[in-house]
């Protein structure tokens, strides 16, 4: 018996969301009185043994380059095999791009109950119950898992990474891998950009910016905070900003530590995608904007004056 954590890598590097899943999985193992092990698929550049500091004892590395790109079918088969070998009773994913693709397949393959979008450690006092987001962040559901093997896909930014001491034993696992049926022909990464779902701080702007040509001050603030940029739905619909920046109920749901909303009124659909943020700052010239009701800090004022001042103040404290 063990807790197996899927460690997701991109271009050879371990994703931040996977470190959260590792920390979480190690804690689940501790709760169940068992050990945490990890599984890595494809070529890795990072030193995998150093992942031991997140509490994982052993890493199974399927070092096969045909797994360098996500193919949910091939990934599922490989993880199922490692899970079988290690006798994993709980399998942990991050509920990120790879997790959303692979965890449901694995659930169907192993007939293992899945909680996707988990936000807390399981409650094992009476059964095995995991809290997850439902209604796009407007509520939580406590999901009971009664199956022998259980799968948890942890929401990004829902569990804090903690690193201690320790080294993991890395074992090369040689298993038969299917040739991927999904052939990746091009990767378009916006270099230097902080991925929205992984970002600790998100600076978001709406129609109050009046036009795409005015986004410079938003980007400057994001840069000063090392934040990702986002936008409201009307802005994405008007093609002022790329659609992958759209946060809200029908865009990306995010849960950063700090969310700064500039010139966004705060429609219920927008709030649904961002209300899991720890701290919300709203800058809007309309004191009646509904977003102020969901905010922790607010400034009623003109974004074109407030935002540059804020960037300067941040640069000052960051030196």
């Amino acid at each position: 018996m063990s807790v197996l954590i899927f460690i997701d890598i991109a271009e050879g590097n371990v994703k931040k969301a996977s470190l959260e899943a590792l920390t979480y999985g190690a804690k689940v193992a501790e709760q169940l009185g068992t050990t945490a092990e990890g599984v890595v698929l494809g070529t890795a550049k990072d030193d995998l043994s150093s992942l031991g500091k997140y509490g994982v004892k052993k890493i199974h590395h399927v070092n096969n380059p045909s797994l360098d790109h996500l193919d949910a079918q091939a990934y599922t088969k490989a993880i199922a095999e490692v899970a079988g070998k290690t006798g994993a009773k709980v399998i942990v994913f991050s509920n990120n791009v790879d997790g959303k693709s692979v965890a449901p397949r694995l659930s169907a393959k192993l007939k293992a109950g899945l909680v996707s979008g988990a936000v807390a450690l399981p409650d094992t006092s009476n059964g095995f119950i995991v809290k997850k987001n439902v209604f796009s962040g407007k509520a939580f559901a406590n999901i009971a898992l009664n199956t022998d093997v259980k799968i948890i896909a942890l929401n990004p930014n829902a569990y804090k990474t903690t690193a201690g001491d320790g080294t993991a034993e890395v074992v090369s696992t040689d298993i038969a891998v299917d040739a991927p049926k999904v052939k990746v022909t091009a990767v378009n990464k916006v270099s230097g950009e902080v991925p929205l779902t992984e970002a600790e701080i998100v600076v978001s702007a709406g129609r109050g910016m009046k036009g795409p040509e005015n986004w410079g001050i938003v980007e400057d603030l994001a840069k000063a905070l090392h934040a990702a940029t986002a936008c409201s739905r009307p802005v994405a619909d008007a093609h002022w900003r790329p659609h992958n920046e759209h946060v809200g109920q029908t865009g990306t749901a995010i849960a950063p530590t700090l969310y700064i909303a500039i010139g966004i009124s705060g429609a219920i659909q927008h709030l649904a995608g961002v209300n899991r943020s720890k701290v919300i700052v709203v800058i809007n010239k309309d004191p009646e904007a509904p977003f102020f009701k969901a905010a922790d800090y607010g400034i009623v004022g003109d974004a074109f004056e407030v935002v540059p001042k804020m960037t300067e103040a941040i640069k000052k404290i960051k030196g």
Binding site: L114, S136, N146, G301
Partner: protein, 247 residues
Amino acid sequence: MKILVCISKTPDTTAKIAFTANNTKFDTNGVQWIINPYDEWYSLVRAIELKEADASIVIHLVTVGAADADPIIRKALALGGDEAIRVNADSHDSFYIASQIAEVAKQGGYDLIFTGKETIDYNGSSIGGMVAELLDMPYVSLATKFELGGTKATVTREIEGGEEVCEVNLPLVVSCQKGVAEQRIPNMRGIMAARTKPLKAVEPTSVDALTGIANFELPPAKAGVKLISPDNVEELVRLLKEEAKVI
């Protein structure tokens, strides 16, 4: 070419979220029901666009729900699609629902199965992956673009911090999100045509659910906003650093 589009009934995006029966049931009182936006705006509309480009394509819609899902599936038929199948079962377990869809898919022999990237109520983002596994088909999730060329699909999908383009042979399961298509409004002709399109109710196949909902919780209310003068932006930055400790 046959396309199956999975349709889910969800509460309207502005619905008030409340629970009854000691927080174990969603309070449907006064709730307006809609087609899950990801199913409607992206996967259904993209399927319709493909049919507009190639009239030989047949589109079937499938939903798993009780008879109260009929108005939703009729609305979907009004947008487009040739016929609909409703599996007469009510469940919140993704595996149960996916198993029903997979059963319909096996009987229909589809080349392409579209789902939305998730439903806006239970946010499972699981149906597509589960259906693909049950049918042993490849799965591309979180598509932002979908093109068809003969028996091969070119799909652009979201990755962290960007997108990647992939090529996959059919049959295939794809989950769709923003970018794949644009929302459409049903026209009168479509609404009239939908009345006579076949909508078949079938009984579910026997499957054990893998999960159960113990209960629901609402998030704690916010303490209230602390307003700072626009002439004192430095104070906001100080609070974020010293009080909230987030920068």
